[in-house]
Symmetry: C2
Subunit: 140 residues, 2 copies
């Protein structure tokens, strides 16, 4: 996938209302589906598809941003474990899924993707509240 037609580059995805914070090389967004509370995505600002396409300093900065957001989500949503995933099977623009796995997780031993569930879409006000809460946790 090239930058042209990439939904992360055109601004089509993720939804602007889900935007948490500009982290530097990346922007954090709350994921559409909040069945796993706090599930977020960290999207690289520029178009690249694989980690080796980044310069070492850029990769290091991205990973520091990922770590910072992961720690804030873990604290904010009482995660027992964080899951970090860079897949790009549908949108091949570097974006990390950050999934807090809590003590009340319905299937704590398996990847979130294998847990059958109805997507949980938040109402706009609830989405905005959650975004603001994470932003505050990030000191932003």
């Amino acid at each position: 996938m090239s930058a042209e037609g990439c939904p992360a580059c055109t601004g089509e995805w993720p939804a602007r209302a889900h935007r948490i914070l500009d982290c530097g090389t990346s922007v954090a967004y709350l994921h559409d589906d909040q069945f796993f509370p706090g599930w977020s995505v960290l999207v690289l600002k520029r178009h690249a598809t694989e980690l080796w396409q980044l310069a070492p300093a850029e990769r290091s900065a991205l990973m520091d941003e990922l770590t910072r957001v992961a720690q804030a989500l873990a604290a904010g949503f009482d995660a027992v474990k964080m899951n970090y995933e860079l897949l790009g099977n549908q949108v091949a623009h570097i974006h990390w899924h950050l999934i807090p796995r809590r003590a009340d997780d319905p299937a704590p031993r398996v990847p979130a993707w294998t847990v059958a569930h109805e997507p949980r879409r938040l109402a706009p006000a609830e989405m905005a509240e959650r975004v603001a809460r994470i932003r505050a946790r990030l000191g932003a």
Copy 2:
């Protein structure tokens, strides 16, 4: 999970015969199940469970190692896309899953975990050959 009783710390897991390379802060192993050819895991040498428990330089080194192995696997197994996953839902010792997704992937748009299949265990000679091939690709 503490270091005590951790299968990655006791040497119980991954299997020694699957060992590809000591990368520095981590060791690369071929995954048991080779249904997705080249699926490997990169295991941190010391016990830690989350990225924020690593010093920035250590995290950066780990990510450089992950990137190097990912690129070698992508080239060696003709990946269209690499998947990078740090989960720890079962073994909460930092280890990355690296999954080459090839053009002949049975379900290229979804995470590997959701693709129902019989695990493909290689015979010892085939496992050794594959390990050696990746090692050579890494210039080791």
